[in-house]
Symmetry: C2
């Protein structure tokens, strides 16, 4: 089968998971007041169309391990609600302007209302987890709760690390710091927990979810580095955010960290001073200068290689974990996702 066909098969499967989980997520939003300043806004980010990686991983893993999509659906939409809450709050914290091709929620409705909508999403995520009791029984419901609790804490810890670096203008970071941060901030909730939860539900608690941690970490790290690469070199129309936005936000990406470890003392001083500027003073010219330095030190290529290596490691883990399972559509989906993670353009 040629690469283009594989890609199309993968995307159609991903769209299926996304559409199914979106439908259930929308149905989980209370149909009552206050709508205008709360519940109508909860669906805005989800309806803009996330990629659906998280529900896709959760639902497909559940099926691989013997369960059905519908058994994992409550958990998948809880993860998706947490994810969207995280995006809303993250956008406020980063003062981001665009999300999925449109203004961020706080840019459109103001920080107070957006912040509260994020809180509502977090509160709403508990509901489908409680509904699990009807389909999964008390023990599995409880185990999923524990997974979600761990996921929520890891995410705020990773976020605190990143925000701490920015608030202290930390310019002495290395690849290990970066990988530890995205393990916490991205990998747990984007890959590790969706897979763990899918496997726990599918196997009715018979699988030890710890076996997936390494795989989810490699996959999530490849995903995040690719995401940061797209922010530097993608097309805005596809990517949905301002290109170079991460540089303007002072985000410590692998590429920026590589630059800070490659430049001359003088260049590093310039970068450090740039990062000290208030956001409004980080002009497009200054952002361009950082981009030029990144090109000079081949930082994008460095990131591309890292993402590719991580995807390779994920692939190896995948064969170890899933090798013995029959070649189902779901198994193919996860395998293809690994490749897609580093080839995607949005």
């Amino acid at each position: 089968m040629d690469a283009e066909l594989i890609r199309e098969q993968f995307l159609s499967r991903l769209a299926h998971y996304k559409d199914e989980s979106l439908k259930h997520l929308i149905a989980a939003i209370p149909d009552r007041e206050p709508k205008k300043h709360l519940y109508d806004l909860v669906s805005i980010y989800p309806l803009r169309g996330g990629k659906g990686f998280r529900p896709g991983l959760c639902l497909s893993t559940c099926k691989i391990f013997g369960g059905t999509e519908s058994e994992a659906m409550n958990s998948a939409i809880a993860i998706e609600l947490y994810h969207n809450a995280f995006l809303v709050h993250d956008d406020i914290e980063d003062e981001s302007e665009d999300r999925r091709g449109f203004p961020t929620l706080h840019a459109e409705y103001g920080v107070p209302i957006a912040l509260n909508v994020g809180d509502a999403m977090n509160a709403l995520a508990i509901m489908p987890l409680m509904n699990n009791i009807l389909s999964l029984g008390p023990q599995l419901t409880w185990q999923v709760f524990k997974e979600i609790q761990h996921m929520a804490l890891e995410s705020v810890e990773g976020q605190a690390m990143e925000l701490g670096w920015r608030s202290e203008n930390n310019c002495k970071l290395d690849d290990g710091d970066y990988l530890r941060m995205i393990l916490k901030k991205t990998c747990w909730y984007t890959c590790i927990h969706p897979i763990r939860i899918g496997a726990v539900i599918g196997s009715r608690g018979q699988v030890n979810p710890d076996i997936f941690n390494r795989f989810g970490y490699y996959l999530g790290a490849a995903f995040q580095i690719q995401d940061d690469l797209l922010n530097l070199e993608g097309e805005k129309a596809k990517y949905g955010k301002e290109i170079g936005g991460d540089i303007q936000e002072g985000k410590r990406t692998l590429m920026l960290i590589h630059l800070m470890n490659s430049g001359s003392a003088e260049e590093n001083e310039e970068i450090k001073n740039y990062l000290l500027l208030p956001r409004a003073e980080r002009t497009p010219e200054k952002v361009q200068q950082i981009m030029d330095y990144m090109r000079k030190y081949d930082c994008l290529n460095y990131g591309r290689i890292a993402a590719r290596n991580l995807a390779g490691a994920a692939l190896k883990e995948f064969y170890t974990l899933f090798g013995a399972f029959p070649e189902t559509e779901e198994k193919q989906f996860i395998e293809n996702m690994i490749i897609y993670m580093i080839n995607r353009d949005k």
Copy 2:
């Protein structure tokens, strides 16, 4: 027993509940990194010393209904964590400057870190609720979860109502609107749910918690109106916030709503225009002008009477609900709290 003695007894009991729950809350904060930008900051608001109303209501009600303090402790600290998360986010949303006598968390550490600390508190609140399973068993644990889920949703709904009024500069509100808003924003999480949860645990699920809704509503509404009165006429040293801060924030208190329904067309236009100003342009002189109008239309007295009537209604409900119970310290505590709510100066 004279009033001063009753007051002292009440305050010492309140301090006991506050100290016990604070001790457990602090112990529930993970002792691991990241500390500086996360876990060290989680305890800042709690350590500044809230009043302890919420744990007090939860722990005392549990005991009245046959339970022990320690059985309700996990739930009390979960409520307290939610409360503090709510304060941190509320302070960001309101651009408040002071909280409990010190700068607000975002004023000191910036919006991004403070917002994330609030998210961490919400995530941490789930942990003690999960620990309930060891002491309360699965059914009660589950029931408390449902209570907390409802509490969280009511609070964000109330917050959305208030933020919506502000963002639309709604000046056509009446007492009913105000009471519906604080029922959602304040009463559920400050009074109704702490009492419901205490009673459910204490009675091992035998009491129908709905019987407390009216009492908790009256008590919470009296509390909130008194709080807003203190913001207008209290002493900063005791109250811990800037006096007149609510006017500066454009908060729709009962007193402001009364003013907007009492002033001349011309005065109302002036008030409306004041509320349209960006916060920075709401000078102390302009705040003073609104205060003067409030005095002119006796708005503070109007609020005082409303708080007193609500406290009276709470007292009547209290006798209906708790009349048949023996005269224990805990029962006295709740009775005295009703009076304290409208007489407190901080």
